[in-house]
């Protein structure tokens, strides 16, 4: 089923309003799921479940939110920052995300900021329209 980006955004907005109890106008494209919208770890699974239903697609959690397994691997993290290998791996796993700003200070604590509303829209767009 082909959908425009606007249609996808509206569906994603509905998912986040239901999953996180936020207002529609808080769900802006650049809003981060954790810092701006208050998502916690269980919410990420909730979002995955709701998006699967909303779009009729299968979403392996690892594919949409790959950071968890990455930061638990000691090859990829050193002194609270992603190593060169870690950054390369992140790029591979998050091909739809602009990582340029993150790479300048690849602190593990900043990874949460990569997960924005736009990222969800990009992900669905690539699944539905590629």
């Amino acid at each position: 089923m082909a959908m425009t980006r606007d249609q996808i955004f509206q569906e994603v907005q509905g998912v986040l309003v239901d999953a996180l109890g936020v207002d529609e106008d808080e769900v802006k494209p650049d809003a981060t799921l954790m810092a701006d919208l208050g998502a916690e770890s269980i919410d990420f699974l909730d979002i995955v479940f709701r998006m699967e239903k909303a779009f009729g697609i299968k979403i392996p959690r690892e594919e949409l939110f790959p950071a968890e397994s990455l930061i638990s691997n000691s090859e990829y993290v050193s002194n609270g920052k992603l190593t060169h290998q870690g950054i390369e791996e992140l790029k591979k796993r998050m091909p739809h995300t602009d990582l340029n700003d993150f790479v300048e200070n690849p602190s593990v604590n900043k990874i949460g900021d990569l997960f924005t509303v736009d990222l969800l829209v990009n992900f669905v767009d690539s699944k539905l329209n590629s």
Partner: protein
């Protein structure tokens, strides 16, 4: 000890849905205080009864191999009071289930009236928080639940596997 907020399952379709019964009685001491002269079942205990019904449904779907813990209340809306003498039916349905978690929807009814709508999420904590220790009372399954299952004519795992 663990309070059990369901008396019996009357329907159980593995991995799909379940219906449990709760008979509310004036013998429950908390009703004497909630509230004096106006006993009603606290809403939080209706959520607990749904967590137990849905939690067992989720646990059974994976053969009770996962430690199932209530992780999120997605929705809890109440439409009427529940009084001593009422028989509640707690209807739970699995919406999604994966290795890490499950989401359920459900409603509580009295006769044909919807009393509450309660949607929950459960985490399979071995998949999510491996290695962390949690106290036994946090889990949905204790051997008392085996008693409820057997009393409902349903197969229950041996007590030691519920711990």
């Amino acid at each position: 000890m663990r309070w059990i907020w369901i008396d019996k399952f009357i329907e159980f379709n593995s991995g799909v849905n379940a219906v449990a019964i709760k008979n509310v009685t004036m013998a429950e001491e908390h009703l004497h205080d909630n509230f004096p002269g106006f006993p009603i079942m606290p809403e939080c205990l209706m959520i607990e009864s749904m967590a137990q019904t849905a939690g067992i449904l989720v646990g059974q779907a994976r053969d009770y191999k996962e430690k199932v813990i209530l992780a999120k209340i997605n929705k809890a809306v109440f439409f009427n009071y529940v009084r001593p003498g009422d028989t509640l039916k707690i209807h739970a349905k699995i919406e999604s289930i994966t290795a890490e978690a499950a989401s359920t929807t459900g409603k509580i009814t009295r006769n044909d009236e919807t009393i509450a709508e309660i949607d929950l999420m459960f985490s399979h904590i071995d998949q999510n928080l491996a290695g962390k220790q949690f106290p036994q009372e946090n889990f949905v399954f204790t051997d008392l639940f085996g008693v409820v299952l057997r009393a409902s004519g349903l197969p229950a795992p041996a007590p030691e596997s519920l711990k």
